[in-house]
């Protein structure tokens, strides 16, 4: 029964993606693609932050790694030679070449490998230390991208990335990410992650290797964040180091907090709400006109609204939309 329901849901989603790509105008599709990419990022960020309970602030770093790897693999050699204006590109950059799907997967693997090495220092600490070390990592990636023009073209970034990521690819990958995340949550690893989140000492006492579980969650999360980054690079066709600032992490944090830390369906719903809300509140960043007086443009107003939203949510509705439950068993007494 459940299997039939799930297969029907998947087919319905695929049909919607196909229908949307062929019917909607490019503006709607760009919003939908954006939502799809942020859904991938929020779902994977939720795995480490919500499910495994390791509050970290690094997704912008992993997204950047994925985006740069994918962009370099997708760009044709002669375009690279023309683009690198500051210094000549390193030979390896010119040699790197791959098709679209292998390119984004390599981006994901690269992010995942970095996550593996990063887990040794960061999982020696818990709580707020973890948060600030991972935050620092996000900064270092950006500094690295700016200071190695032979590999990244420095602050100018990469342009003219082939635009292979249409809504069909993004939608399908988001769907796959969601299915994999749900499977992880209800697997032995997912239960181990939740036990680490709820009581690390008790989990250790039960024989769970907490370091291994955290690293596993971190690497999985990084893999999908890297893939999301690759899709982002291909969708936008332009990337610069400044795109991967803490702002990106902050948006993802709002999404997973609104959805309920640990709830994958919550993250999905919240992605639609927040990204839709960002689009809807765009007028706040434009010129504000009150009674015919032009107060001028104030970029950043949207983020003021969202930071107030985040604080209010933490003060009054800490559980978010779904708590740590999933939509399809929301009315069950206890989450699994």
């Amino acid at each position: 029964m459940k299997i039939i329901r799930n297969i029907l849901l998947i087919i319905a989603t695929l049909l919607f993606i196909y229908y949307a790509q062929n019917t909607f105008d490019s503006y709607t599709l760009s919003i939908l693609s954006n939502i799809g990419i942020f859904a991938i990022l929020a779902l994977s960020y939720n795995l480490i932050n919500g499910v495994a309970g390791q509050f970290s602030l690094e997704p912008n770093g992993f997204v950047a790694i994925g985006a740069y790897f994918t962009a370099i693999l997708l760009l044709p050699t002669d375009t690279k030679v023309d683009m690198f204006a500051l210094v000549d590109p390193a030979p390896i950059i010119l040699q790197m070449k791959a098709q679209f799907i292998p390119a984004i997967i390599i981006g994901g693997i690269a992010a995942s490998i970095v996550a593996m090495f990063l887990s040794f220092p960061v999982f020696r600490v818990r709580g707020d230390y973890l948060a600030i070390v991972t935050l620092g990592f996000g900064f270092i990636i950006r500094i690295f991208a700016i200071n190695n023009p032979a590999y990244t073209n420095g602050a100018m970034g990469l342009n003219d990335i082939p635009s292979n990521a249409n809504f069909i690819w993004i939608g399908i990958i988001a769907l796959i990410t969601f299915i994999i995340m749900i499977h992880i949550i209800y697997s032995k690893y997912g239960r181990a992650m939740k036990s680490v989140r709820d009581d690390e000492d008790a989990a250790t006492a039960m024989g769970i290797n907490t370091f291994k579980i955290k690293t596993y969650a971190f690497m999985t999360s990084a893999f999908f964040e890297g893939i999301g980054g690759g899709l982002l690079a291909s969708m936008l066709t332009t990337i610069t180091p400044d795109q991967f600032s803490f702002l990106l992490t902050f948006q993802l944090l709002i999404i997973i907090v609104l959805g309920g830390l640990g709830s994958m369906s919550g993250a999905l719903i919240a992605t639609i709400l927040v990204m839709g809300g960002m689009e809807w509140l765009r007028f706040l960043d434009d010129n504000i006109i009150i009674f015919g007086t032009d107060l001028g443009a104030h970029p950043g107003t949207r983020m003021v609204v969202f930071s107030i939203l985040l604080i209010i949510m933490m003060l009054f509705a800490r559980k978010g939309l779904l708590g740590d439950k999933e939509l399809f068993n929301y009315f069950k007494k206890k989450s699994q």
Binding site: G127, D128, Y129, V133, L135, G136, I143, F250, L310, M314
Partner: protein, 297 residues
């Protein structure tokens, strides 16, 4: 590197380290009493620098403007605690962290919206920027004044902590908040005092920053705040003296590495995190810290 240049860099390092130290004290004290990394601390420093800037632009004498910045920052610090942290004292740590990030982002974006994101030139009074020379080296007077003032402030903070009743209460709070409440001490009042001290020092650090790099912008608090936090961890979080030692080590390293290996100049903002990661790998309690779980002054 000859001796003249070495001395010059030494003084520059001391001046930079002083700023990190002043901001790190706030991190370490708040961490001591609340076990919270106050993510908004760097932005409170930014508020202090901005208020001082507005004061001087409005024609108020520099010293009074600094006082205005200190009072304003302390007020923002108190408000942050009352609005965002106090209702969550019994909530899971993660909620507190998220509100702290919310406050930090709120302050950064509010100042961007109100005053624009373009850096503003900060006019320091002449007696701070005057250049003097000893032998071959030319330095602004501020590089001497900043470390001196910092050491005086450190002495004052240590005096408050160890010689006054409030200081005793702060240290008691760092050990065990429940027992302190049972002893009849108003814990929230003491926490407020910690926020006042931390924010005031951050404001002074912000003014020093603005004097040394004569421009300010709404996002200046992020990277300086992170580095100061790294300094606090390096020195051993929870230890005020450690925060100062960590701040100076970080300041000297930044200046000397860039002086000796100019090609690493672009990475100077990353040194703090290499330090942080090294400390966490080999000595998570820092140089002067004793026990992470029970940070003490």
């Amino acid at each position: 590197m000859n001796l003249d240049i070495f001395l010059q860099q030494l003084v520059n390092g001391a001046s930079l380290g002083s700023m990190y130290a002043l901001i790190a004290i706030g991190y370490t004290m708040v961490y001591g009493v609340l076990r919270l990394i106050n993510f908004a601390h760097g932005d409170i420093m930014m508020v202090g620098a901005f208020l001082t800037f507005f004061g001087t632009s409005a024609g108020i004498p520099f010293e009074l403007a600094v006082l205005l910045g200190i009072i304003g920052s302390a007020a923002v610090g108190i408000l942050t605690d009352k609005i965002a942290y106090k209702p969550l004292r019994d909530a899971p740590k993660i909620s507190l962290l998220i509100t702290a990030i919310g406050i930090s982002f709120f302050l950064e974006n509010l100042f961007t919206v109100l005053f624009g994101s373009t850096p503003k030139a900060f006019a320091a009074p002449e007696y701070l920027t005057k250049i003097f020379h000893v032998g071959e080296i030319y330095l602004p007077i501020s590089v001497i004044i900043i470390p001196t003032v910092t050491l005086l402030i450190l002495a004052l903070v240590l005096w408050i902590l160890y010689k006054t009743k409030y200081g005793m209460a702060i240290r008691a709070l760092a050990f065990d908040i429940q027992t302190v409440k049972l002893m009849g001490i108003d814990a929230d009042r003491i926490i407020m005092i910690v926020f006042i001290i931390g924010s005031a020092l951050a404001a002074i650090g912000g003014v020093f920053y603005a004097v040394s790099y004569p421009s300010i912008d709404p996002l200046m608090g992020i990277i300086v705040g992170l580095k100061a936090f790294a300094a606090a961890v390096l020195g051993g979080i929870g230890s005020v003296a450690g925060a100062v030692v960590g701040g100076f080590i970080l300041g000297f390293t930044e200046i000397f590495v860039v002086a000796m290996f100019p090609e690493l100049g672009g990475y100077k903002d990353a040194f703090a995190f290499f330090f942080l990661i090294l400390v966490l790998l080999f000595r998570p309690t820092g140089i002067m810290g004793q026990d992470l779980e029970r940070g003490r002054f």
